[in-house]
Each structure stands twice: as C-alpha cells, then as structure tokens.
C-alpha cells in the first residue's frame, strides 16, 4: 500500500482539477469536519462553539484573471490589459466568493455510538461566470465581430445570502463503519440568479440585401430571478448601508425557506486505510415571498430605417419612422417584470477521500486503557466538487496530517483545482485544556502577494471541545 499510494495520488492529481476546501475535512478532532462529512470519525464527546467565532470561513477566487493582470503597475495601459484579459478569458471562467459564519454550534455524545450536533450558520455564496460575449460587446462593440454571435447565455450567475439551521447525527455502526446525516433548514435572506439564458445578437453583412448589414437579436430568453430584493429596491431613500442593515435584520428569520440534507460515511478498510465520502446541501430553496423576476425575450431583426418619400404638403408631418421602429422593437423584444415563485437547488458539494495512517501513537502502559492507538501521520487524498450552473467544479487535494501530540495537530496540503495548480494549504489546530483554536489557510503562496493570486481562503475558529482521553 505504501508503494501504491504515491502513484495513486499522482494519477488522481493529474486527471482532476477544480475547486475545494479541504483543510478541515477528515480532521477528527474538529466539529467542523462534521459539517463537511456528517459520517466522519470523531474523537470527542462534546463541543460548544464560541458564538459567532466557532467558524469564520472566507474564500474568493477567479479562474481566469488576477488583480495583477488588470492593475499591474508596469507602465502599460490598463485598457490594453483589460482587452488582453478579455481575449484570454473564456465564458467558462468564473468568479466566486463564499463566506460562512457559525452563529451557534454544539454537540454531544448520545449513547455509546451516536453523536448529535446542531447549530446555526450564515452563508453568502456568489458564483458568476465571466459574461464574455456581453462584455466584449460592451467593451469593444460589434465592428470587429461582424458575422459573429454574441451569446446571451454567457450571462450566468447565482448569488445568495441565507441562514442555515441544522441538526445532524453521527452513528458508529461498528468499529469499521460510521455513517451520518444532517438535516438543514434554510432561511433565505437574499437571492438573485440568472441561469439557462438563451439568445444571440449578431450583425451580418448582407451582400445583395437592402443595406450593408442586418442586425439580429435571435431567440432572446433572459431571466433574472430575485427574492429579497424587491422590498429593498422599492423602499424610498434606500442606501447601500440601509440595505445591508435591512439584510442583517433578516439574518435569523429570512422570508423564504428551504430544506436539505448532508449525508456521509467513513469506512475503515484496514487499521491503517480508510475511505469516506459525503454530499452536502442536497437541498432546495423555495422562493415565494418578496420575489421579482425580470424577463427579456423575443426576436428582432432590422436593416435600418427605410424612408418612403411620401408626397407631403409643407404643413404635413413626416412619417414617424423612428416611432414605428421603436414600436416594432417593443412588439418583438419584450421585457416583463413578474412576481412568480421559483425554486433553486443549493450548490451541491461532494467529497470523497481515502486516508492512510502511519506511526502509531505510544499509549500509556496501563491495562485499564482500552483505547486503540492512533496514527500520528495521516496521508490522504480528497476529491471534492461543487455543482454549478454550467457543470461541476472539481479539485483534488493531497495532504499530510500530523498529530504532534494531543494538543497540537497540523495539516499540510497540496491541491490542484481550477484556480491554481500550485495550491499549498496549512491547517493548525491547538487545544489548551478544552479550549480549541484552529486556523486554516489555503493557497499560502498567494498570500505573499494577493494581487497575483487566483484564489485565497481562510478558516478560523475557536470552541470548547471535550474529549474522553
């Protein structure tokens, strides 16, 4: 196994790419690992998080561009750099921001085999593909793109702010297998999404036609759904500060609800080797209140305006060609604002990993102690993904997890994902009596100069964890 493992790690690393947040996964002495895999193995009997501080998670990333690519202080023109970036970046590149803050977190052992955990956390998730064609049209115009389509499907984004109430149960089926599930109730504070858009705009040359070009909007079908936005928009004197305050006031009880589950397991194949997997946020949000949908649809084409040279007296008005043109546009390209309820899937996350332990801990020579020895070094490989509108984003992480002693543990990780192929991560968890504090930072190289980093993420928290040592 020790010979096969590096080969396996290498193979998985080169065939996978993606986005991940692996530093707290499989950390059996942190309750946060239960949020990623409710079936994870754990080694504590009770935990209580410091309200609002048991987990603060921030991550942001961009697959196609860094701040340096645009704002480099190298004397060249910023507009040329923007054009270069727009040429290089594709409609599959994306920007993402994710923030989570645990408001409440606690759990305790139930019976010999069970562990109940519950809590509340607030989450912000924004995911937007680069709207390449609309951006090129706005930035460069159509003159250099005669005959080419500008595709409105490139406009594709989701954004939500919600509070999650959750309760989970972890059950040790036998010494090899542990399983778990977590029920989540979502309380939606704000949502905006525009996916599955259709339609193109094109300008084509028309040799033999009535004019130089024909401008076409074909099969336009663009929808932006929002919930929690209309009331902000319609309130008089609303400022950004007031809007943020209003959103904060909805933090605990948002207007729209949803339900979801997390499921997971951990199976110890041998004493040293274990596999595990989980899915998170298999759930739906039902947007029914404070909903506003903006719909743009239709098809239209024009070669310009055609004067008819009517015979007019001096006092007669000319034909209102422009008004007629606008009426035709309005008739064929419509925009509607509706208040239809809609449903969104939460971004499903999935993880699968295997872990290999070496270096057994030395237990006290006491026949009264029945605990199994722990492995001081854990080598693991984690594949994780998130469902997004145009398909899943993947990442793979290889890690070395070192338990220095009962009070200190750290993890070094190397990851490959869609942001970077040189992502180094570090996690440290330390315990002073029952007080635990942890810090995890991914893409450490990027922290040396965030301007050149495609992504950065940080998790930190503090809590009380009680172990039965």
């Amino acid at each position: 196994m020790q010979r096969i493992l590096p080969i396996l790690i290498f193979l998985v690393a080169i065939i996978c790419k993606g986005q991940n947040r692996p530093l707290l996964y499989n950390v059996d002495d942190l309750p946060q690992s239960l949020l990623q895999n409710p079936g994870a193995r754990i080694d504590y009997i009770r935990h209580v998080g410091i309200p609002f501080f048991s987990q603060i998670h921030l991550s942001a990333g961009s697959t196609g561009v860094t701040a340096y690519d645009i704002f480099a202080d190298d004397g060249s023109g910023v507009n040329q750099r923007v054009r270069d970036v727009m040429r290089d970046i594709s409609a599959g590149d994306y920007f993402s921001v994710n923030e989570q803050m645990e408001i409440l977190s606690l759990g305790w052992k139930m019976g010999d085999r069970g562990y109940f955990s519950t809590g509340i956390y607030q989450e912000l998730d924004v995911f937007a593909y680069f709207p390449k064609d609309p951006a090129v049209l706005a930035f460069e115009g159509n003159a250099d793109y005669i005959g080419q389509d500008f595709d409105f499907s490139d406009a594709n984004f989701t954004g939500e702010v919600l509070t999650v109430y959750h309760a989970g149960f972890n059950y040790k089926v036998d010494p090899k297998l542990s399983v778990g599930g977590r029920l989540k109730l979502y309380s939606g504070i704000f949502n905006a999404e525009s996916t599955d858009n259709e339609g193109v705009f094109r300008t084509i040359e028309t040799p033999g036609g009535p004019n130089f070009y024909r401008h076409e909007v074909s099969g336009l079908n663009v929808t932006v759904n929002t919930s929690g936005y209309a009331s902000l928009k319609n309130e008089e004197g609303m400022t950004v500060d007031k809007a943020v305050a209003e959103l904060m006031s909805r933090s605990l009880f948002g207007q729209n609800g949803g339900i979801g589950v997390d499921l997971g397991f951990n199976y110890r194949v041998t004493n040293q080797f274990s596999v595990n997997a989980s899915v998170q946020d298999l759930g739906l949000m039902f947007h029914q209140k404070d909903v506003e949908n903006y719909n743009y649809f239709g098809s239209f084409q024009t070669n310009g305006l055609e004067p008819l040279f009517p015979e007019l007296d001096d006092n007669e008005a000319t034909i209102p060609y422009w008004d007629i043109f606008e009426d035709r546009v309005d008739l064929n390209l419509k925009d509607e604002t509706t208040n239809n309820a809609y449903t969104t899937w939460r971004p499903l996350k999935y993880n699968a990993s295997f872990e290999f332990g070496t270096g057994k801990s030395i237990l006290p020579c006491d026949y009264l102690i029945s605990k199994k020895p722990r492995f001081m070094n854990l080598f693991g490989m984690l594949i994780s993904g998130v469902n997004r509108p145009k398909g899943s984003t993947y990442g793979v992480t290889a890690y070395w997890d070192r338990k220095v002693n009962d009070h200190l543990r750290f993890r070094l990780a190397y990851a490959v994902d869609e942001f970077s192929i040189t992502k180094l991560g570090f996690m440290m968890s330390s315990r002073f009596k029952n007080f635990n504090i942890y810090l995890a930072a991914n893409d450490i190289i990027g922290y040396t100069n965030l301007a050149k980093a495609n992504s950065a993420s940080l998790q930190l928290g503090m809590q009380f964890i009680f172990k039965n040592l």
Binding site: A67, Y68, I70, F71, A72, D73, D74, V78, N79, V82, L137, A138, F139, E140, G141, N142, A143, D144, I146, T203, P210, N211, F212, Y213, R214, H215, T302, N303, G304, L305, E306, P307, L308, F309, P310, E311, T318, I319, P320, Y321, W322, E326, V404, N405, L408, F410, F426, M428, S430, L439, A441, I444, Y447, T448, N449, L450, A451, K452, A456, L458
Partner: protein, 183 residues
C-alpha cells in the same frame, strides 16, 4: 526546546506572519479611474430602393424631379451619444440605374431645422445593365463631432437632372455609421 514545542511555535508564527503581512503588491488600483469602455459600433442607418414611380406624382402622374424625406434619428439624442461619442464615420452608397445624373444631398438637422452638416454629391448616370456607384464616407471627429451630437433629423434629398415623365430606372441607397465611443 523539544521538537514538538519548536513546531508549535515556528509553524504558527510562519503562517500568522504570512497572513498578517499578506498584501497586494506591484499593482495600482488607482488605474480603475482610467478604465474606459471604447466600443466601436457598426450600425445600419437608412436604405431605400426607388424606381421611376417615386419621381411621378401619384395623383397627376406629373414628373417630380426633386423628392425628399426626413427621418428622425432619436438615438442621436441619447446619453451615450451625447456623452461618449468621439468619432463617427458615416458611409453612404448609391447605385444608379437611371440614365440620368442625380444630385444627392444628405442633410443632418437640429430639432429646429437648422442644418448642422450635409453630404452632397452627384451620382453619375447608369444604365439597366450597369449601375453607376458612388460610395463615400463622411468622417466626424474632434470638434466636428458636436455636429452629429446636435443633429436629430436626417434628410435625404434627390434631384434627378434632365429626366422627364418617361424616365425608367432604379436607384438604391445604403448607409451605415461606425460610431466610436469612450465611456
């Protein structure tokens, strides 16, 4: 100092150090002020296809050597034209199959009818089998761009020279604008 104790101190110190000293280097976010949208838009303007009937009075069938029409181009009054237009190239193309010379005068007028600028030329006579073509581009840039920004009406005027009631032929007109903006 034991091995574990040194790890306990050194590693967190390195990581905290990295996080605390992390910053944006080699960039100047002040350049965001300089970012401008500079689209070049190709837009069709007017077109027409005329024949002899357009030069005859529909009631009396009398020959009318001069015909004209006015089209309001309301988009010229929009903010993006008024604030962002830096350059315009207006292209006009006539194809004449009338065996007569035709004087074309394309005028751009203000709301009150005052002329801002015009493009006038003579289209040579053509024939049924061969069109006479005039293809011209009128550039507006620099200080002249205000002439277009002040305009709201486009008048197309044609005078057919030397023809009479029995004229036969066709006249085609195409026009477009290349509008360059800076926002």
């Amino acid at each position: 100092m034991s091995h574990s104790r040194s790890i306990k101190l050194v590693l967190p110190a390195i990581i905290f150090g990295l996080l605390l000293t992390s910053c944006f280097k080699d960039v100047d976010f002040g350049q965001s002020q300089d970012i401008s949208l500079e689209p070049d838009l190709e837009v069709d303007l007017l077109f027409y296809q005329l024949n002899e009937t357009d030069f005859l009075d529909s009631g009396t069938n009398a020959f009318t050597p001069v015909i004209r029409d006015t089209v309001r181009l309301e988009f010229l009054d929009d903010d993006y034209i008024q604030d962002g237009l830096t350059y315009a190239a207006l292209r006009f193309k006539h194809e004449n199959k009338f065996p007569y010379e035709i004087k074309s005068n394309i005028k751009f007028l203000r709301e009150n009818g005052r002329r801002e600028f015009n493009v006038a030329y003579i289209i040579p006579p053509g024939s049924k089998s061969s069109s006479a073509v005039v293809d011209t581009t009128h550039i507006l840039e620099g200080n002249n761009i205000v002439n277009l920004q002040r305009s709201i009406q486009m008048v197309v005027e044609l005078e057919i020279v030397g023809a009479n009631q029995s004229l036969e032929g066709e006249l085609e007109f195409m026009s477009k604008g290349l509008f360059r903006f800076e926002f």
